[in-house]
């Protein structure tokens, strides 16, 4: 596997992990989460938890790291959605 391909995969992982930061900030700033779908983010939290378990079982540090952070951010969005409705 070439280094360029690995860099591409790592960049993809970093972007799809950190993209939830602006969503968290938007809800915190506006105190509005009306358009956010609870089933979508609930499912994403469950999915990230399963990815995390999978990452631990196959011991893949990138899968573990990306999904631990995603799970944290997405759980925060779910909590804010429950709070602000």
């Amino acid at each position: 596997m070439s280094l360029a391909v690995e860099i591409l995969g790592t960049t993809a992982a970093v972007i799809t992990t950190l993209c939830w930061v602006p969503q968290v900030l938007r809800i915190l700033k506006t105190r509005d989460s009306s358009a956010v779908s609870l089933p979508a983010y609930g499912a994403l939290a469950v999915g990230s938890a399963l990815w995390l378990a999978y990452g631990i079982l196959i011991w893949s540090v990138p899968v573990i790291g990306a999904n631990a952070i995603t799970l944290m951010l997405v759980s925060l969005i779910v909590g804010l959605k429950i709070r602000y409705g």
Copy 2:
């Protein structure tokens, strides 16, 4: 790798792919996307496109399939956000 671990990973992939269906449906039903963060979904679209390219380069059908569908659903959310604001 045991079959149970593979089933766990596949379940995680299916959930984190299809979780965007309820978000698309919610925006279509309410015509409201005010609380949706454009930078978050824009970044997620770019990230999914990079995952898709990575999947093609390493020829992983699960990575290709999951990210092709995610890219489609997330692009739809970005389009709806631009339309409804």
